[in-house]
Symmetry: C2
DNA sequence: CGCTGTATTGAGGCTCCTCAATCCAGGTGG
DNA sequence: CCACCTGGATTGAGGAGCCTCAATACAGCG
């Protein structure tokens, strides 16, 4: 994997989104959008201007909760957050986790009121994106609107995969799939390797994400550990038998990754 | 709820998307986008041009299946379709049903290869939208890109609600929620009333959508029927006690509907 | 050094599944 | 016009998976 040299014409820089030196000068978010739409330097600059105030949020205190109106959205710089919905019974379902480079709260902005809660799992740093700025940018830089549509579709694909898992995979398969997906995403932003990653999630959170009880999560993790597949202890996930895990989970990462920008 | 008269300036026509006579001249799809972004007549025209060949598909034969490349997407004119994913074990999970006016296959176009299957539930008529036309339209008519982003986000909200249901609602609640959501969507496009709607889905399909077995669907439907809540027989859903059903399902339809366009 | 949140393990029970039989309606061919 | 066929709906019986409750073990922290 040789690094491409920075070409004169910026369009060419992003033909292979993971190999452009120039891109690493921009935010991980810009790098992500560059995977979908080959961005010009103007578009890159517009993206950079989008980043508003840098804000810090403490762990465990909701950044956004259901029903709030006129929210901003955020681009996550460091830390993990989760998006979840509360049910009347007091239970919750975690829809997704966001890791550095992810966009969050887009739906809360597009609809005027938030339809889900956003809670930092750890201490979080994020750039605020004002709703007005976002919509202005879309009208002035239409290709960015398309790029964000693309990114949103990738997020939707993840939610769909999550739905499939909860609907049709049993607890072991579902857990395996979840860990593999998380690992693949973290690897894409340089926060993990093929053999493992740091993971700040508690078994309660895993349970709320996987649609099962924390107790059962514990039993499943033990089974996976005793089967020599994967270990999740003390905030660290170690993948011991990737192939077996992939086979168990029926994991296909194609929905997470692309070879290059789809729109030239 | 008085009907607004058709104003001279088209921008104003769509302030209340369900009350504009002019809009009914356009496709249901245009009406839906108009709920998000107040469309000018030029934008409307661009939307109309998007509709390509009208195609017919027989029931039960996949229109698109996983892995196909270079797909078109479609705007559904009549009939029902479902989007589903197959698992290695031979089971499937239905992610969503599409009804007239819905856009389908957007993700299959944005990514170059389809990540899910699309199967007509009934005989279907749909306008083909070519991938190139779609992207061209986005660049020439940027507000339409934003509008489609909005519509895609609404779809995502539905998938999220579906995920929450499968993860954290039991079979009765889930089924009730599903029927309510379907009813609300059909009502929005004039295919149902508050008291019921025609529904071509078999109990097998319901099971694949709700993440349960067809046998259990049957038992749950019986319970709901015997409880006087709702009857689903011979392709017809009759809602007998809407309030009780809403309470049971913890149903909040705000994610389906909006008061008016969000972007003026 | 107790407090608090998390992890771990056991016991018992409920939900939902699978397998299997029966019933019913619509369509088809004789 | 009826026997047959097919796909869906319905019901029963037994079992697997996951849940809840509850106890105990840990680890970090003020």
């Amino acid at each position: 994997m040789d690094r491409a040299t920075v070409a004169a014409h910026p369009r060419l820089d992003v033909c292979h989104h993971r190999s452009s030196a120039l891109l690493t000068l921009h935010s991980p978010f810009a790098r992500k959008l560059g995977a979908f739409v080959a961005l010009t330097s103007e578009e890159m600059a517009a993206l950079d201007r989008l980043h508003g105030r840098r804000k810090t949020f403490p762990a465990r205190r909701d950044m956004v909760h259901q029903g709030m109106t006129n929210q901003s959205c955020y681009i996550l710089a460091s830390g993990w957050v989760c998006s979840y919905k509360l049910l009347s019974g007091g239970t919750r379902q975690i829809v997704d986790f966001q890791i550095p480079g992810d966009f969050l709260g887009l739906r809360s902005v597009l609809f005027r009121t938030a339809d889900h809660n956003i809670e930092p799992v750890t201490k979080v740093e994020a750039s605020e994106v004002l709703a007005g700025d976002l919509l202005d940018t879309f009208s002035k830089t239409p290709r960015l609107a398309t790029a964000v549509l693309w990114a949103a579709s990738r997020d939707e694909a993840m939610v769909v995969e999550h739905l499939v898992g909860i609907g049709r995979r049993d607890a072991r398969e579902r857990t395996a799939h979840f860990l593999l997906e998380l690992g693949a995403r973290l690897k894409l932003v340089g926060l993990g390797t093929a053999s493992g990653f740091a993971c700040p999630l508690s078994q309660y959170m895993l349970g709320d994400a996987l649609g099962m009880s924390a107790v059962h999560v514990n039993r499943v993790l033990r089974e996976l550990r005793e089967g020599g597949l994967v270990t999740f202890q003390r905030g660290q996930v170690e993948i011991h038998d990737l192939d077996a895990l992939v086979a168990l989970a029926d994991f296909d990462k194609s929905y997470l990754d692309h070879d290059g920008p789809l729109l030239k």
